[in-house]
Amino acid sequence: MNPLFLILSLFIPFQVSAQEAITVTPTKAPTKEVLDLVTKKVKEMLNQESTTVSTGPKSFIGTIFQISDTQLTINYKNQDKVILIDADTIFINAKKVKIKFSDIKSTQSILAMGYLNAQNQLTAKRIIITDLKTIENNNQVVIGTIVDISKSSPIFVLIPIKNKNTQYQITTDTKTDVVDQNGQEIKLSSLTAGQKIITIIKPDIKLKQTFYTTKIITQSKTSTSTPTPAN
């Protein structure tokens, strides 16, 4: 046997095996491909969930400004929506009494429930005459610093962190919920000037240029709360 051939035949297979070991190095830690695959799967699941939700019943609110034999056009916050009417559509007035399509008038506000078509038009199954004022959400969330607290009345003044040129005069009452960052209830009387808070306010019906707060969440200077979703 040729000695050179013998040497090569012994050495080359070992080198090939070494090369294979390099290229297919098995590691238990996920590679970029695995992470990409997981990301892709998560996206697919989210897409699937979204598709499922999209097929369910939908609703629109708005004020009617156009009526034809087969459809209504409504507007809410400068957006027009087309509501398709068919023989199955049920109409209900504000007193929860069934009415006819002919009872529906322009300028009335409605809540329409049904299914969306490909043109984003709602084929209505149920249309309810609704007062939009009862639906509107006038709540406002403000994060700011208390600059003054009245000693004689349940009022304090708040300056927003991001807009120091604005001041909110805010009233409280016994229904005002005051909690710390961890959701622990604290006394309203424990609030002090200089304290940073998040508050949910809405215009006070009784006092002009004054807001009423339903909830106050005090903010500690250093966040120590556990980042867990909570109700």
Partner: protein
């Protein structure tokens, strides 16, 4: 005899160098591979950030994305979970016209907060406030109805 002896020595030397060299190459590559994989694994938020950017959203602002429920959804139960993403550890405040619910996004910015719905249409405002006090808000129309739709 001498010829075979020399040949054996050469063969042994070649094999020895081959084995040693190959072991070192394999060992070095293994270390690099593990190191690279570990560096890919450590920043786990990368996954969630990618998902957050491409999540099919109903309502989206730069710092707040609602993944469920979709805007304009009609629900047959009076409770639902508002799910979404915001900046990490953001405070989340959800208000309807009658109630307020609060929670916090986790380190990856993901949140899920259960809320109650009133009968009929509910305009639900969702506000996220991040650690730098930046505030982002979005609104959903959610309708609770037990009627057959």
């Amino acid at each position: 005899m001498i010829k075979e002896f020399v040949l054996t020595i050469i063969l042994g030397a070649v094999l020895g160098f081959g084995i040693t060299g190959s072991y070192l190459v394999v060992h070095k590559n293994n270390n690099e591979s593990i190191s690279a994989n570990n560096s890919q694994l450590s920043p786990t938020p990368v996954i969630s950030e990618t998902v957050a950017q491409t999540t099919p959203t109903v309502t989206e602002t730069s710092n707040l994305t609602i993944t469920a429920p979709e805007n304009n959804t009609v629900l047959s139960t009076d409770t639902t979970s508002i799910k979404g993403t915001a900046k990490s550890n953001s405070s989340i405040i959800i208000s309807s016209s009658t109630q307020t619910f609060t929670g916090q996004a986790n380190a990856n910015g993901i949140f899920s907060i259960n809320i109650n719905l009133a009968s009929g249409a509910n305009l639900v405002k969702i506000t996220a406030i991040d650690s730098e006090d930046n505030q982002t808000e979005t609104e959903l129309l959610l309708t609770y109805s037990t009627a057959k739709i």
